[in-house]
Amino acid sequence: MAAIFSPAANLAAKLGLIGAAGLVLGGMSWWWLWPRTDYVRHNSWFVEQPVPFSHQHHVAGLGIDCRFCHTTVETAGDAGMPPTYTCMTCHSQVWTNAAMLAPVRESLANNTPIPWRRVTDLPDYVYFNHKIHIAKGVGCESCHGTMQDMPLSQKARSLTMGFCLNCHRDPAPNLRPPEAIYDTDWQRTPDTPSPAALAQQYHVGGRTLTDCSICHR
């Protein structure tokens, strides 16, 4: 009886097996690595805005405090986006004819808000409260990165659940003294109180910050 398969079939079978193993391994690696890429997390992505607002210019250059625009960050869950009036505090006097600022002037004239687009966006099933984080000594920079270096705002952290839990599991090392909360350049110095001391000062601890209901309500 003639052979059903030629000797090449052996090679084909082996290649097939190696290929299948490669597919499985490759698939698993892809499954593991893909969600962690900056691409998927939109890390360092710029978001198209109606006006190309530069935090670098306003914060580092002019020294405006975060709270001048994000007024409710200490008192509400939402940090608050500035109304057009806030922009006009200065821009009714400076750069009044700049083409770049036309949408701001239109917004004021038509009494319609500027449709800013969120850069650091959490899923809707996550309850995030700015007030409590500020009150307990978490700096803006911990989640938003060095805003004062950004000519255009970009997402600075992965904001995966793992990122949140990393701090919720052990908050103390991420706490800073009250005067450093809005300082995006702040570094721990020898004079800084220890993480444990800060945690005690802010009354952090004694409550399980990793309970589901802390963030998912």
Binding site: F5, A13, W32, T160, N166
Partner: protein, 446 residues
């Protein structure tokens, strides 16, 4: 036909058996009855696919589940199917280890039953999830959420057990097929069949070293599979017992579920071999001895299940817990009482007929008893799931459950899928394990 028939009728021999069995798989055209028999299962399978697609589109709201009965047909059918599957493994693995000769001719069909039963079962938990596209969250993998599944929950271990069981069943089934696929390859009448069976046989040529490895591997897999039946079904029992729900929170559940698995598995094997031995002219290899043994096993497991029912009642009234007694009374006399009594009738009372040897050999009665057991086991699962949930501890939470058309379509769809799968096995691969039959038959024609 007598209970004392040999496992193959006198005059049986290897060449005749191989000709006959491989001839069935290698037929150029399907049997007429096969074509007719596939129509309904194929239609039901299409219905299954349709109802699953609609479920994915519309969500679990299309089913009858709601508070307080949030576990409905999906869980009932899951447990029902996995029980049916387990019985097949019991025959193919445990009775391999005991070297029971009667197993050789019904082992292939029992394993195929396991395969498709487990496939039907495996569909349901995923559909039941509500967000089925996240089913892989059950698996502990390093995810960006930094979350692990709840290792203390039996539901997670259920996932592992089922996954292990399905994987091992597929491997065991396929490994058992290899020598027979090689036979089909060697006998294939057309080039196409030669290549297909040749690829599937994975180069099995029957050399002595291949056989040596083969036997070791088969023995090891059988030794793994036999305890897996118990682990998989204990875990299914623990899914219920782990909850503080009325009627579920009992240490009896794991063994109770294993008893049920044997009962429904043996019944399904009987229901498959009875028509098959006639339609495929296998009376020579599936004899009175097989029917007798299977009948005895069915009767024995029925007695086990009956014992579990009695203990269920005893524990309830001996325990004296108010909510348990309320629920149990409801089970006996309430809205769903008919289903409970059907369970007792079909699972315990009817199989008592099998005490008589004449009845064990009466194919029609045995088939009817088997159908009864399969229906009865479904009723048992319905009672466990629905009756317990519809009478929780708080009277304010009492409620009723009614299945919808989508529940029924999905359920009948899996029945169709199961039958369709078995029919495909009948058409495409040897329904009797030829290489194992060769161990007990005469080597040559007389």
């Amino acid at each position: 036909m007598t209970p004392f028939d040999p496992v193959a009728l006198p005059g049986s021999n290897n060449p005749d058996m191989t000709d006959h069995v491989s001839g069935i798989a290698l037929r150029a055209n399907a049997f007429g009855w096969w074509r007719i028999a596939t129509v309904l299962p194929a239609a039901l399978t299409s219905g299954l696919i349709g109802s699953i697609l609609y479920l994915f589109f519309a969500g679990v709201g299309i089913w009858g589940i709601d508070w307080p009965v949030a576990w409905g047909f999906a869980i009932i059918n899951y447990v029902w199917w996995i029980a049916i599957a387990s019985g097949g493994t019991f025959i193919s693995a445990l009775f391999f280890l005991t070297r029971s000769e009667w197993r050789n001719s019904i082992n292939r069909i029992a394993e195929s039953m396991t395969l498709f039963g487990a496939a039907c079962a495996g569909i349901y938990p995923i559909l039941h999830l509500g967000r089925p596209w996240f089913f892989y969250w059950l698996f502990p993998y390093p995810n960006t959420m930094d979350l692990w599944p709840q290792f203390r929950s039996p539901l997670l271990w259920d996932f592992f057990a089922i996954l292990t069981y399905v994987t091992s069943s597929v491997m065991f089934w396929y490994l058992g097929l290899l020598p027979d696929l090689a036979t089909l390859r060697d006998r294939a009448p057309t080039r196409g069949k030669q290549v297909v069976y040749g690829v599937m046989a994975l180069g099995f040529r029957g050399t002595s070293s291949q056989w040596r490895h083969y036997r070791v591997l088969y023995g090891v897999l059988a030794a793994i599979m036999a305890p897996l039946v118990c682990s998989v079904h204990s875990i299914v029992g623990l899914d219920f017992a782990g909850a503080a729900t009325v009627g579920w929170h009992s240490t009896m559940y794991p063994p109770f579920f294993i008893f049920g698995a044997f009962l429904s598995g043996f019944a399904t094997v009987l229901l498959l071999i009875i028509p098959m031995r006639r339609l495929l002219r296998l009376e020579r290899y599936i004899t009175g001895r097989h029917l007798d043994v299977m009948g005895r096993l069915l009767l024995t497991s029925s007695l086990f299940v009956g014992y579990a029912y009695i203990m269920d009642a005893f524990n309830t009234y001996y325990g004296g817990e108010k909510a348990e007694i309320t629920m149990f009374q409801e089970k006996l006399f309430g809205y769903y009482a008919g289903i409970y009594w059907a369970t007792v009738l079909f699972n315990v009372l009817l199989p008592q007929l099998l005490w008589f040897a004449a009845i064990r050999l009466n194919e029609l009665v045995v088939a009817l008893v088997s159908i009864g057991v399969i229906v009865g086991m479904w009723c048992e699962r319905f009672t466990i799931v629905v009756v317990s949930l519809h009478r929780p501890r708080l009277p304010s939470a009492y409620g009723l459950y009614h299945a919808t058309i989508w529940d029924w379509l999905t359920m009948l769809g899996t029945v169709g899928f199961f039958v369709f799968g078995i029919l495909l096995v009948v058409r495409l691969i040897p329904v009797i394990s030829m290489f194992e039959m060769r161990e007990i038959l005469a080597p040559r024609r007389p």
